[in-house]
């Protein structure tokens, strides 16, 4: 009876967290790449 609310709650929890994890790792690898490029250029 309440399954929809439960599934929606877990989706509303883990989808934003997965997006935040993905964005954070992508930003970190981009910063690492730029730092390495700058170090090589110096």
């Amino acid at each position: 009876m309440y399954d929809t609310y439960i599934y929606l709650s877990y989706a509303a929890t883990f989808v934003p967290l997965a997006v935040l994890i993905g964005v954070s790792f992508r930003q970190l690898s981009e910063a690492r790449r730029l730092a390495q490029l700058l170090a090589e250029a110096a």
Binding site: Y2, Y5, I6, S9, T13, P16, L17, L28, A31, A35
Partner: protein, 240 residues
Amino acid sequence: MLKALENISAHYANPTRFMALAAKLHAPLWGLVALCLAYGLYRVAYVPDDYQQGATVKIMFVHVPAAWMALFGYSFIFFASITALVFRHPLGHVAARAAAPVGAVFTLIALITGSLWGQPMWGTWWVWDARLTSVLVLFFIYLGYIALWQAIDEPTRAARAASILAIVGFINVPIVKFSVDWWNTLHQPASVSRLARPALHADFLYPLLIMGAGFLLLFLALTLTRMQMEILRQKLRRRS
């Protein structure tokens, strides 16, 4: 004890040393997050229905830890801002800025999952009671804090303005926590923090605490990852 903390804090004030420590902690911390959340979700799957809430009690295992992290996240930003502003710790602003999106996402999750629990249990998605409203205000403070960092181009001025906002905004944290005691709210009072006699049966309490530990580890892992990114960005800004 305080002296030891002071020494550790001074040692890792050097961003290079901190980056070396973060690199060592990165993989084990994310491994712990995965293990803890997987075990927590496994325990939640076998939680019995509550005599009043039925199966919707399962929503509590994400809603409550998310709400804990919303408050913990803001307290973390507050203490990091104090450390930066008063003690001039070089990583204070970095830690506060890194934690802000993490805390904001946990606050948003607490609001949405609370609403998804409220509809079947209270018969409404939202009421303007003290707890719900103060958590919504907390979410707006998080957004304001993030926006302030982006609105000011000069990093030192942005850091100072954001820290002042973080410190002033902390007044909302005790309001959120004690709103259920100070005002007549539809939201129920605390069930777990009464350490002597928690109002929860062990069947519910232990999975909730495991999920809480998983969310705490996730908060720390995300903040650490974002701190590494912020330090690298700072270095890039200085060199360019």
